[in-house]
Amino acid sequence: MNIIVCIKQVPDTQDIRINPETNTLMREGVQSIINPFDMYAIEEALRIKEKLGGKITVICMGPQQADAALREAVSMGVDEMVLMCDRAFAGSDTWATSYTLAKGIQKLGKFDLIICGKQAIDGDTAQVGPGIAATLDIPQVTYVKKTEEIKEDMARFEKMTEEGFEVIETPLPCLITVVKEINIPRLPSLKGKIRAKQAPVTTLTAKDIDAEPGKLGLKGSPTVVKKVFTPPKRTGGQILQGDTNEVVNKLVEALKDMVVAAGKT
């Protein structure tokens, strides 16, 4: 089984601080990590490989520093790593990112399964996985919480829904995105870490993937960010005191005032 895992390098939100004056992220000194949902994708790939054999390639679009994320995946047991790195990719939204990753994956040759985390913790869009599947025109199953069965040419997954789960059977190749319920990612091993240090990274640039230049980077991104703002902080509110009748009357009066005030604006 030829498995491709897409990962993203993101800032570790656990130690992110917000600049109270500008309301922007303070990125200085913040560590970069593999997007936590992608860790489940890596682990699921490793488990499937342990069962069926084959090869796992991890692919990441990002700057040179994303190399560290790829090596961490290799230290867990992934076989090969590919970094998609080019100035032309800069400023990509989810549409352009999906297109770029799909072109990169096509370049790598035959594959049976693509696994992505359900979303990245920095953008939270959950669009890139489905976008890759759409670009490659292959079936997709999102929010997978269990691999029920997987064989050479078909697989059956449990897909999480708000009410419970659905069981979906699909031919391969296909793409899945996974949720945290699917497994517990392993820690890296020492031998894996030693291998990761020496293993070569394949770099793919815009030229390598035969992409249409207009579909890459900022130019290929239809998303426009109009404004980024922090919602106002919640104020303390008001606590009404007294016996029930008294409090209810006060509340009704207060609500009336608010309705009147709202009507005036």
Binding site: L187, P188, S189, L190, K191, G192, K193, I194
Partner: protein, 385 residues
């Protein structure tokens, strides 16, 4: 941070052990302590991460490191739980006799499974009547054809019952006294080899401590380590190598207690300020941190001396075990003081560090025995001048 000029590989080992301690051990340490359950969950993680064989030669499946790597791992694990750390370090203690005195067949047979984490090991010397006075060992090994027949009871054996491989000292010739002891490798499941009750301890409660009972237990002569009569040399050389490991455990326990104390001092408010703003408390923290760093520096220095192949490290390894364990006892006691009443409660993790620290002053030679060794060596040095 003090720079100890670790190699790239040592940093990798330390960081991985630190990650395991933080992510896997810290969340379960209190539960293993409370329920006195053996941490097989963590041993499995250690095995999957290749950490079990850091001090074992590469050709036997290890990483090819030595006492330094053993210390780095033990220290990091101890920072989260001294009891879980000792399950790993006691395996090293049980393995050192094989590393130091085993022949190639013995090494081939036992080391790969220990390096991969498939098997744990244990070291069996102490008996009811023989601890510090190792010459009083009553367990015997009688030669019968190709076999030795062991009889006797070993007491307080760490990893007892959980380990698969035991390094056991027994008297092959009582007439010869100290020169009549020999070391054997005994596998769990050998006929005539059983385990007594699991002991209830003050600290390191995740680790298992049991009696080993030998009753006409037949061990093949291929399992003799070194030669007959070398038992005490095996024991002493093993301790020389392993004592920095106890020191590392003590340093880790002390550091873990300090970490908690510092964090608490920045959160706890009294008189309208965090208690970390009071100089009386700051001085305590300064002393604790300084003592730990001194113990760590000595630990690494002695571990490196051991790894350099120095012939005689008895004095230094006694010094480091003594100093680091006394430091751990002092620092963990002070850590409780920093937390005050909360520190004394089991709901907070700090009292456990003090309970875990105490054993480091006792096992692998009490600190009084360490002082004997140190004094003897110092006095001998004067004679040689």
């Amino acid at each position: 941070m003090m720079d100890y000029l670790l190699t790239e590989q040592q940093i990798m080992v330390r960081d991985l052990a630190r990650k395991i301690a933080k992510e896997k051990i810290a969340p379960v340490a209190a539960e293993h302590d409370e329920k006195e359950t053996f941490p097989w969950d963590i041993m499995k993680v250690m095995a999957e991460s290749d950490l079990c064989g850091v001090y074992i030669e590469e050709k036997y499946g290890g990483l090819g490191g030595g006492a330094m790597e053993l210390c780095l791992v033990t220290e990091e694990l101890s920072r989260a739980c001294g009891g879980i750390a000792i399950c790993f370090a006691a395996t090293a203690l049980g393995t050192y006799p094989i590393i130091l005195f085993g022949n190639d067949e013995q090494k081939q047979k036992y080391l790969p499974d220990i390096a991969s984490g498939k098997k744990l090991a244990a070291f069996a010397l102490t008996e009811a009547g023989a601890g510090s006075d190792a010459g009083a060992i009553a367990t015997t090994a009688r030669k019968e054809g190709d076999y030795y027949v062991l009889n006797g009871v070993k007491q307080w054996i760490t990893n007892g019952g959980e380990a698969e491989v035991y390094s056991v000292i027994a008297m092959t010739d009582r007439e010869k006294g100290a020169r009549g002891a020999s070391f054997f490798i005994v596998e769990k499941g050998t006929h005539g080899f059983d385990f007594g009750k699991k002991e209830k301890k003050l600290g390191i409660r995740a680790s298992a401590t049991r009696e080993l009972v030998f009753n006409e237990c037949k061990v093949h002569k291929d399992n003799l380590l070194g030669r007959e009569g070398m038992g005490f040399i095996v024991a002493m050389k093993t301790f020389d190598k392993s004592r920095p490991g106890v020191a590392a455990q003590a340093v880790g326990i002390a550091q873990g207690a300090l970490d908690h104390a510092v964090k608490y001092s920045r959160e706890r408010k009294q008189f309208g300020k965090t208690i970390s703003s009071f100089q009386g408390l700051q001085f305590m923290i300064a002393d604790m941190a300084t003592q730990i760093e001194a113990a760590r520096a000595l630990t690494y220095a002695v571990a490196r001396m051991v790894d350099s192949g120095a012939r005689d490290v008895s004095k230094e390894s006694a010094m480091v075990k003594l100093f680091a364990s006394d430091t751990a006892m002092k620092v963990t006691t002070d850590a409780i003081q920093v937390l005050g009443g909360y520190g004394y409660m089991r709901d907070y993790p700090v009292e456990k560090y003090m309970r875990d620290a105490k054993i480091t002053q006792i096992y692998e030679g009490t600190n009084q025995i360490q002082r004997n060794i140190i004094a003897l060596e110092v006095l001998k040095e004067q004679l040689r001048k």
